[in-house]
Subunit: 318 residues, 2 copies
């Protein structure tokens, strides 16, 4: 496994790069840290450990923090941490999905560290089984091609060198190298959709196909190629004075699948994520843009409008 990860690292990082390593204290991230430290002996890199204390499990959360601090000291690495105040998060925002909110806060913290250290990537320990869960979850929620291609090894400043490694290999490495780590017991709490998949659904799917991870990876590769093909065919949108502009005539000539891919891309450019872009909203926008009229507009995500002015499509603030 070490070799497999070294190959990936060799592809994405070079000497003297700065990496922010997300370490929770669980087995995945502890193995990631251990392998990165070994890699540094071959290719000098600056590693910074980033730990987020979610405080979800009281004293245990603090013990995680202590463990990660201990690793930082042992390896002589910079240690950065942030404690999330979940109670106030929940009260202030009426959070419907605590896990998503935690992720958002976590990446906000990682973003700050990226800038502070002029780092190349945040490195996370997401692995093949995490990705399988993500894709299944997207499938269940109806996310289309983008959702079905799952996480990328590298994208948006996040680097995931374990993405084609499965959980078994990680556990084996941890045992063989006698690593200390904590079990995250919230993983056994079935109230989270992801855990429902991990504990109930995936074991059943593996009874149908014991090589589920391998088939899944092949499937993913195929869908990624298709996604790449599509991305090469969508027209360019350009930023002009804080607005996003595109050619509406060119847009109307596109195949419906490409029109949708273009709008998804546009929405992502405007809002950073397509999490709240529903298929119903997509239909409405398509209707407006394809109406052939040169003077129409429609709401396009929070605070923005999409409109047609003559031969130009525009996304601008409300």
């Amino acid at each position: 496994m070490e070799e497999k990860v070294f190959q990936i690292l060799d592809k994405f990082v070079k000497k003297d790069d700065v990496l922010i390593v997300g370490v929770s204290g669980g087995v995945d991230s502890v193995v990631l840290l251990d392998i990165l430290v070994k890699f540094v002996k071959k290719t000098p890199l600056k590693l910074v450990i980033a730990h987020v204390n979610h405080g979800l499990r009281g004293k245990e959360s603090d013990a995680d923090e202590e463990l990660v601090k201990w690793y930082a000291k042992k390896f002589g690495l910079q240690f950065e941490f942030k404690k999330l105040d979940l109670d106030s998060l929940q009260k202030k925002n009426c959070v419907p999905n605590l896990e998503a909110k935690c992720r958002e806060k976590r990446y906000e913290f990682f973003g700050k560290l990226l800038r502070k250290y002029k780092a190349k990537y945040v490195v996370t320990a997401h692995h093949l089984n995490d990705n399988l869960e993500t894709v299944l979850l997207n499938f269940v929620r109806g996310a289309g091609l983008n959702g079905l291609t799952g996480m990328n090894i590298c994208g948006n400043d996040i680097f995931r060198p374990f993405l084609h490694i499965n959980k078994k290999e990680i556990l084996k490495y941890a045992t063989e190298n006698d690593l200390k780590f904590y079990n995250d017991y919230t993983n056994f709490d079935e109230k989270y959709a992801r855990n429902r998949l991990r504990l109930k659904v995936i074991p059943e799917l593996k009874k149908i196909n014991p090589n589920l991870e391998k088939s899944f990876w092949e499937n993913l590769e195929n869908l990624r190629e298709i996604k790449d093909l599509i991305e090469r065919q969508i027209p360019l949108a350009v930023f002009v004075k804080g607005e996003i502009k595109f050619n509406i005539v060119e847009f109307r000539a596109l195949h419906l699948a490409l029109q949708k891919a273009f709008l998804i891309d546009l929405y992502k450019k405007a809002h950073g994520s397509t999490y709240y872009f529903t298929s119903k909203h997509m239909e409405q926008i398509l209707k407006v843009l394809n109406s052939g009229k040169g003077n129409v507009k429609k709401e396009f995500g929070p605070g923005q409008m999409i409109l047609v002015e003559g031969k130009t499509g525009i996304v601008r603030d409300n």
Copy 2:
């Protein structure tokens, strides 16, 4: 529900068409038959009932046959049936997947009836939940975009007017119309992958998303649009004297995703199905075809070769 199905029927059939209706005696196909008989009062059609006795459940299988025969008599329709000899099927062919073998035999029988009656379609009662299972099964087995788009309402002489109707609606119709049908108890036998999905996996997924079928259908529509986009971009292969020929220069200029889609299409043309076309075999063929050489060949499914002769790609019998 009746209205929804009538709309679909209006789209695909016209006066005096001949339809072979697959009726097992289970609730789905009995409801299908009942709705078709009502439709015939509006638009005269010739309906022929086709029943396959799988003999998997002994006396119960014979009772199913009697029930379907009773319906045929009641509605004054032609009745065709075939009894499968599963014991000899299993012994002769070392069948790894009995369900697949039964399906093959069933469609062989349907094909004969299509020709005998000069019928337009075989009509089956596959519904939205069947399709969800099919797609999940393909996902689990790693089938790529083609697998993820599931069954079509109409294709290869099979017409599935229930494909966007869910099981609940079918059961409701059966109750309201007081229809007689048999429960297929093999559905409760977990040794079949499909039943594992139906009984274990899908209920868990519905806890995550109670509108699973709706999200699934939207997802499917998106993937179908993408499939259509791709199919429009793959080059034509032509049949010349029992061989399939294509332009190898054109092929080599394609995006990898299109090369794969083209080869899948070619395999389907040559063998009727891509069930045994593995990703490993695909890789090998791609390597040979893209090698740039003008005189290479490779096995292409049972009894066939794919080869390059100068500027022409050819699929021919071994």
